[in-house]
Symmetry: D2
Subunit: 374 residues, 4 copies
């Protein structure tokens, strides 16, 4: 059973994550984790903090010897360069759309800083670091994950015709992780124009997973369905307000005949589909097709041109507080989406194939894959 | 900590659920559970099985004395009238969109019946029964839940202007649990016409929760966010492929200023909002506004005019098997949506306010509500 | 992940258990579950209720087809013949040593019956039924479990020189599940004599497990240690107040050289030990030797010659209430000990070797056993 | 819900713990955590490493602002001064009684160092640090915990007549945390003499908890019993092989009349007992009397005069490896016992009284305590 805990405030000393349950015998390259952390910080529309102040580097404090997992818990630490939590001024005007107000109520905090330090999306760096380890695990079985931006505000990218590897290569050096260059130009324009007005933007990212073995997750108990677990993991990324698996809301508008992916068989391909409207999940279980999930992000709640709020002490109307922030975080959110997806798939993988060592898991994996292709 | 397990095959002896963690001192009226079970079975577009063969009635085997909860686990049993699992013929042609094929692979079953008996949506009756108990618990705190049909296929209901209680009353005797009578007529027509072609339909339902105390769920750890838990619970309803909280995908297309719900304060109302685009959840925590969630349902995978499939033994192309089934289950899915939502909110409620007895919980609830309105 | 919930009051309709996570493809013989239930009810010193009124028979309501597990949750039901919970008189005088008083406080119950109905050891029948399924699972891997009585009151059985199979055969038709016939006679005498005084007796039982594969449980995180999980499972059997693994408290009195089991190697035996003071667990992990655990049972708290107590309403001194009860339950407790041990070992087994189907698990098991004997 | 993960190898960079679920508003004094860490390192019979090399100091990386908990996860870090894991030589001869051999099998490690680095008791420093935070939480409700040494090898301390506070004061400056000075002298002699022979010693420690509110834990489901949870927590301390709650094994030798704590009532004391053979737990629930638990420790497995073992590569007989180690760790184990007990009681406390803020919990606690004393 793979599990984790994270800790860390936005301007505290560090973000910390413990990932428990990774099998022994996996090579973990610290640089690959850092590469994921960099991706999270990149993206047109990020604030100066992301691109300049914080250059996240992971320290692996436990769980490895000689760069190989021991089977023991992996401790990851990412230092905050801006460790000013004890010096920063108190905050009294909650931002609409943020946890500020409700966090103060729930925990009886008198200073909103006590909320926003943990409610900040900075926490996701810890999830990205852990997810990077999970991605390394999955790569051993040829499972690959990507994310890309499919919309920013009203501008849609057109990527339906692109293959997994085409999207991967096209997003590599893209400022917005977008595989449609034309759309990307318009998106950048839109970001620039909205930035000038002190406003913010949301969008949609897509996560895709390739070479997932069939049979991860289960229909036998509702809380073991992988679609549910992925939905929870992705919905718990800050600002995500909508999730679609495969065809998503569009399939509610079509008939069964137009939605369900018919089943075919050829000796050399075994069972296969010509379509993937299910997004790789039937009955909450992976069916061997690519997992495809889209997530809608609301615009980030910190606006330079701040919205109406109320001082929690004086109860007088005021503008919401302005924390250093970004205009648009869709590309970064996609990177976080990859990470949490990698974690959930790794969980289901280890549950199915055993959990102690790479050697045993590889045997179990091969045996099963051979059996189901008979 | 509230938790549950369910068991039961579609044509087995019974569905069984154990709900552990309900506090002592709650009155449980069996008839109210049955009323929820009836709602699940009703709805235009259901098969004969739902409306005639199965008339679900719950038996409460444990957890009560004199109709009051003891604090001990509650066992619920719903008998299947059609208990024929051992006599029904084997099934070899998996239905696209169903767990049939992947279930057979995952568990090495040679007869798809070994999959479809549990992968059947009949299992949801157990969740509805448990959810009904949770609704009784929440009612003690004035928390109310409804569900209604907002789309079937391409036909949208227009309900944005209706209040919670208006939707509740308008859906009461509606064959499709739809609050827009005009739209409902068109939906019924559409169901009739699609039925003739042996095809199936999906749609969208909405769940709303009123009077939720602010502060359920938490932003302090990603897996404690209530938005994530609700997403998991709802996505694990069979056929759900998309979820939107509040404004959902629409908020990805707007600016922050147009999305976030500004904060106001009046002595007699305390903190309040004029809009509820967040759907009652900010930072993964309830903010006191109504929880509003939409779920997209794909058309059900059993088609009378069956799709292309493959016999898993002969590997020859064949039409998919046809199990007794419905044309459209959107209203029923909404009832299930209520149930799983009630469970998740009850969980968060008990975590926040203690878990042993109604008396203690009511004290904790009152104290907190008074504190946050100072 | 194997998990379960149980429900049921002592004089309610039935005991119910749901066991979730059993792999597909396991043959489950209902009679073998019943045989375990009978063992739990047998034993010299039990009350008339156990031997006459309740003759427990399990009904398997879900999870099987053709006597084979489907991979779906298994629902077990044991009816109470004495279903009188709604008619029995209220109870006001708590029994010392029982949950009566504290249960009433915790849940604010005014009638102790609301406590004792669930706090009764009758609940353990559900655990025994589930444990019987786990034993069937373990038998597929040649893992065997036994329990026997090693002390009743001050009378010790001498069984140190007996082998696993000798204990098994000697306890088969023993009225006290005791492998030392001489001691057993004295124990019976003691029970008879104590019964006459309206008093009760405790004792010690031992659970042994044979052919456990090395490597179950883990030292990598404290809550994954199998010694801890077994201790929790056994301590949660009603009346257990002490637990010893292997040499137990005795090893606290000896030196390291006298306690630790030296390691040897022979080509035909691979690594082996000449002693088993560790009771099969080193570092919280099975080492391939027999698991050996002893549990101390306090005398049961219901005494015919009742102890001093207080009426919870009048607050006046009174004798404790007398519920129909046994004089000595050590043999039965041993049977429960087997059941909970079987569950915990099955959990660790499935975590290590994967969890979906007997076919896959057998492959993983063989591969690992071969690898570690290289 | 309180939960935690720890990480860290014995000679790695650091031990790390994340404690999730501590309520907001608790003052945490770093020095008090350090004091617990020092206690764990002290004690006659410890190696030079404990007393000189490692002087554990905790760094609190997350979860506090101004020394007060935020409600967010608390991250604790204890650096290893001896961070040599990558330089230390491989180990091939497993120590009997240690996880060395079985760890190598389970995870297919070729170097026993890959096992012993995590299987080392150094890991318990992380648990002690977390437990110290839990103790601070419990102190807010006047709950106090102590541990003391009641036996080393065959030498028993006589402390039955001492009160809680007497034991506390007598162990304060005791080299062995023993409240019986005469016994302690003999114990020290025994340690000295055994040390000379290169052997090791075990013993028994006792944990006591005072002012525990009645009603923590529950009998309603077996895995919610606090006796089981405490047994698991204590058994998972390295070297613990036996556990007794209250009278423990002794109560198996007595009659019910001699064991069960009769119930009395006086207006000024409410319900009370004159004896505490149950050790504060009836039906798995705290009854308001002191919790009393004894744990048996086997002698530590590292012997200077090493036992017979086998080189895992050559399969030749050899003496077991000798790691820097202690002769006797009973006093330290008691400190760990306090920590894990504090954690489990805090869990049960938060489950019963709600979990968000000290203010709310204090209200719930007072209300309940008043109700049950009516």
């Amino acid at each position: 059973m793979l599990r984790f805990l994270t800790a860390g405030e936005s301007h505290g000393q560090a973000l910390v994550a413990i990932l428990e349950g990774m099998p022994a015998g996996l090579k973990v390259d610290r640089k690959k984790i850092d590469a994921n952390l960099s991706l999270r910080q990149a993206g047109y529309g990020r604030s100066r903090r992301q691109s300049e102040i914080e250059k996240d580097r992971v320290e692996i404090l436990a769980g490895l010897k000689g760069g190989i997992t021991l089977g023991s818990p992996i401790a990851l630490l990412i230092r905050n360069r801006d460790n000013t939590i004890e010096k920063l001024p108190p905050v009294f005007c909650p931002r609409p759309g943020h946890a500020d107000l409700i966090g103060a109520m729930k925990y009886h905090h008198k200073d909103l800083r006590c909320v926003l330090e943990r409610a900040s999306a900075r926490e996701t760096a810890a999830r990205v670091a852990m997810g990077a380890v999970c991605k390394l695990f999955l790569e051993e079985f040829n499972v690959e994950i990507l994310s890309h931006t499919v919309a920013i505000s009203k501008i849609q990218a057109h990527t339906a015709s692109l293959s997994f590897s085409q999207i991967k290569s096209k997003t590599k050096n893209s400022p917005l992780r977008c595989a449609d260059k034309k759309a990307e130009k318009l998106m950048i324009k839109e970001i620039d124009s909205v930035k000038k007005t002190g406003n913010s933007l949301g969008g949609v990212f897509e996560v895709k997973v390739k070479n997932v073995p069939p049979g991860l997750g289960s229909y036998v108990h509702c809380d073991r369905r992988l679609d549910g677990k992925l939905a929870a993991a992705l919905m718990s990324i800050p600002s995500v307000k909508g999730i679609e698996i495969g065809m998503g809301f569009e399939c509610a508008r079509k008939t069964g005949a137009a939605v369900h992916d018919e089943i075919f068989y050829k000796k050399e391909k075994k069972f296969y589909r010509k379509t993937n409207n299910a997004g790789g999940l039937e009955g909450g279980v992976t069916n061997g097709e690519d997992i495809v999930i889209k997530c809608a992000l609301k615009p980030i709640p910190t606006l330079i041109n701040a919205l109406s709020s109320v001082d929690i002490n004086t109860k007088k109307s005021k503008r919401a507080s302005v924390q250093r922030s970004d205009v648009c975080v869709v590309p970064a959110a996609g990177v976080i989406g990859q990470a949490v997806t990698a974690f959930e798939i790794s969980c289901a993988f280890l549950e199915k194939f055993g959990s102690d060592s790479m050697k045993d898991i590889k045997n179990a994996f091969s045996f099963y894959m051979k059996e189901i292709s008979l």
